[in-house]
């Protein structure tokens, strides 16, 4: 039977990986492409990180940002996760006929401000306009280059038994903010997206530890999806302590009401960090001083049992599998 693209293929979970393997890898695969947030390439003696990302978030404005800020943060954070200082960014806009220019300017002003904070320069751009109804308001694609100067070896494949698992702040904010902004549930809440450029956060961490094994930006699919990716890439298990995972009360309230798990809700300014146990305390201490990581926490550790799986120590002192995220939780969150 003929197969079609469904929204599940865009959810960032198992079906996205299957599609990448079956269609894209089949035709594009080469040593430059990895499963990490950005690829690391050599140009002469320099190591650079390179990445691209498309943004179709709906609605394009939400509490804590808009599609413009998101499009800068997404690419900056992908570079930062490889330990790369963000240098240059290219932007491509697809805009629907009839879109207000004042709104476009609001979006670009957010981009300007966010890029300035991250220290990345606009270096190329493209604009296309599609007829009414041929695109939903505005889509943005950004592509970034960063430079790796420090001695780092960051990859999702580096997690080792005994390593600690850190999240840099409370989880699930972006997904929650988008849910609220869609106003589909008639729920009013002031949950703010965590959308933020995190090169500063990464730089601070690298200044106190050269031994970090993995840094991942947990976007689509949330922290749970990223942990599964790391467990798979590293062929190790990850055990989490449910009561140590930082979740804002409003986010957990919303999740309780809608039957969602904050571990699967998108973040846009939250990193998952895997480090040797002896470095965990100093990293947490450093993170607590940062603007975007005041409530960073160690939430679990890497184990040799259960390779490829994420296990939860539950509140009643039992252990259970964290189900692997599958399918469409919430389309168009980034």
């Amino acid at each position: 039977m003929e197969e079609f693209i469904t929204l599940n293929h865009g959810a960032g979970g198992k079906q996205t990986s299957e599609l990448i393997d079956k269609v894209f890898k089949k035709h594009f695969e080469n040593p430059c492409l990895t499963s990490d947030d950005a690829s690391v390439l050599s140009v002469g003696n320099e190591k650079i990180a390179f990445t691209t990302d498309g943004f179709i978030v709906s609605p394009y404005k939400f509490n804590g940002g808009n599609i413009g800020k998101l499009s800068i943060c997404g690419t900056v954070n992908d570079l930062a996760c490889m330990g790369a200082e963000p240098l240059y960014i290219a932007t491509a806009f697809v805009i629907e006929e009839g879109f207000p220019i004042s709104e476009l300017e609001e979006i670009t002003s957010y981009m300007e401000k966010t890029a300035a904070e991250a220290g990345i320069k606009f270096a190329a751009g493209d604009t296309k306009v599609a007829g009414k109804g041929q695109v939903d308001k505005i889509f943005i694609t950004t592509t970034g280059i960063g430079r790796i100067t420090q001695r780092v070896n960051l990859s999702g494949a580096n997690a080792k038994p005994g390593d600690k698992v850190i999240v840099t702040r409370d989880i699930g904010r972006h997904g929650s903010a988008i849910l609220i902004a869609r106003n589909e549930f008639g729920i009013d809440s002031d949950i703010k997206s965590d959308c933020a450029p995190l090169w500063g956060t990464v730089k601070d961490m690298l200044s106190v530890s050269e031994n970090i094994h993995t840094i991942r930006d947990s976007t689509r699919g949330g922290v749970g999806t990223v942990l599964y990716e790391i467990a798979g890439q590293s062929n190790a298990g990850i055990v989490l302590d449910e009561d140590k995972i930082p979740v804002d009360g409003k986010v957990s309230g919303l999740c309780g009401m809608l039957g969602l798990n904050p571990l699967y809700l998108a973040c846009e300014g939250t990193l998952v960090v895997i480090c040797p146990p002896e470095d965990a305390d100093k990293l947490i201490e450093t993170l607590h001083k940062g603007e975007y990581s005041e409530n960073a926490a160690v939430i679990g550790e890497v184990v040799s049992d259960y390779p490829g799986k994420v296990i939860m120590n539950t509140e009643i002192g039992s252990q259970t599998l964290l189900p692997e995220p599958q399918g469409e939780l919430l389309p168009r969150i980034c």
Binding site: T6, K14, G259, I311, I316, G317, Q319, T320, Q326
Partner: protein, 348 residues
């Protein structure tokens, strides 16, 4: 955990009396029991069975076929809660129908579907109304709204069910039931007292770790006495009289009818349909839907699973051709379904 809970947990861990079968009826209970790892701490003498309390799971294949028929043959906009989208029909699921051009929209309340009908006056808009007493009042509100606002192009494809007669039908499957707290918050507890007098035992149960452990230990303790019992272990939410406003809404718009449950067959008086004052909103009548009999995959054992007759991993399809990405039966689709919960949580 406080001392009382530790005591309840210890009791359940070390219980060494006669073997017991306790059925959790509600899909949310099934999910929470797995999420918390409760099965793992129970003594092997206590067996939990996941019952038919997930509305998606007990909805027949023919219902999906009717929805697909409405989408393609009546060119209707189909509005539904998310879980139904991936349930396989005989030919295709609604998700597959959508990819082939059917207008299938996910909504979060029934009233959203009425609004979609108002925005699309030249199309028929059908809401797929499944669920128990927790969701049924929303459907009642939607038809009342449609009637008051003269929205003539809105209708419901109904497969709503009520629990009490299902307990009767299931009473030989388990020693006691964990009653679904959210349903009882609407219906109250009078029917459960009546069931006790008819020999059916159970405990109204909430959804937190503490509420589940307490309800389970109360159930096991009561089962030692060998006489029917009923207790409300969720009194912070469930009152004896229930939610009178919601009950009134249902009695104004609905009448009982027989209903077909996947796996359980037809249970007399276990469904509801629109009464004569609202029958103009019945999609089957209004849009002349033929009586489509769905053909489920014959190897799928969802039916046995819903009756507690077998465990999900005893089904020949489980985990092989039936998994959450490619579900064959409804119990694997719904996030509250027993097969889905087993599959998601059991693979340590």
């Amino acid at each position: 955990m406080n001392e009382k809970l530790i005591e309840a947990k210890n009791y359940l861990e070390t219980y060494d009396g006669r073997p017991l079968r306790i059925m959790e009826v509600c899909g949310t209970h099934t999910h929470e029991i797995f999420r918390l790892g409760i099965r793992k701490i129970l003594s092997e003498k206590i067996k939990l069975i996941s019952g038919p309390g997930c509305p998606v799971c007990v909805t027949g294949v023919g219902y999906i076929d009717k929805a697909v028929f409405l989408a393609f043959e009546r060119n209707a906009i189909i509005c539904t809660f998310g879980d139904l989208i991936r349930v396989p029909g005989t030919e295709m699921s609604l998700g597959e129908a959508k990819a082939k051009g059917a207008d299938v929209r996910m909504v979060y309340t029934q009233s959203d579907a009425v609004n979609i009908a108002k925005e699309n006056p030249d199309k028929q808009v059908v809401f797929l109304s499944v669920g128990f007493e927790t969701t049924t009042p929303g459907a009642c509100l939607a038809v009342k709204k449609a009637k008051n606002e003269n929205v003539g192009n809105f209708s419901l494809l109904m497969s709503n069910k009520t629990m009490p007669n299902a307990y009767e039908a299931l009473k030989n499957s388990a020693d006691a039931f964990l009653y679904p707290g959210h349903v009882n918050a609407i219906t109250g507890t009078a029917t459960l007292e009546k069931l006790k007098n008819e020999g059916v035992s159970g405990v109204v149960t909430g959804f937190t770790a503490g509420e589940l452990l307490t309800a389970l230990s109360v159930t096991v303790k009561n089962l030692q006495k060998d006489e029917p019992f009923f207790e409300n272990c969720y009194p912070r939410v469930v009152r004896p009289e229930g939610n009178i406003k919601a009950q009134k809404l249902m009695s104004e718009t609905l009448i009982p009818c027989d209903a077909e449950w996947r796996g359980l067959g037809i249970i007399p008086g276990s469904g509801v349909k629109l009464n004569d004052s609202y029958s103009e909103f019945d999609a089957e009548k209004k849009l002349s839907v033929p009586d489509i009999k769905g053909r489920p995959n014959p190897a799928c054992r969802c039916g046995d699973i819903l009756r507690g007759g077998c465990l999900p991993n005893e089904c020949p399809l489980y985990g092989k051709i039936c998994n959450p990405l490619h579900p064959v039966g409804a119990c694997m689709v719904s996030s509250e379904g027993a097969c889905s919960a087993y599959y998601k949580y059991s693979q340590i």
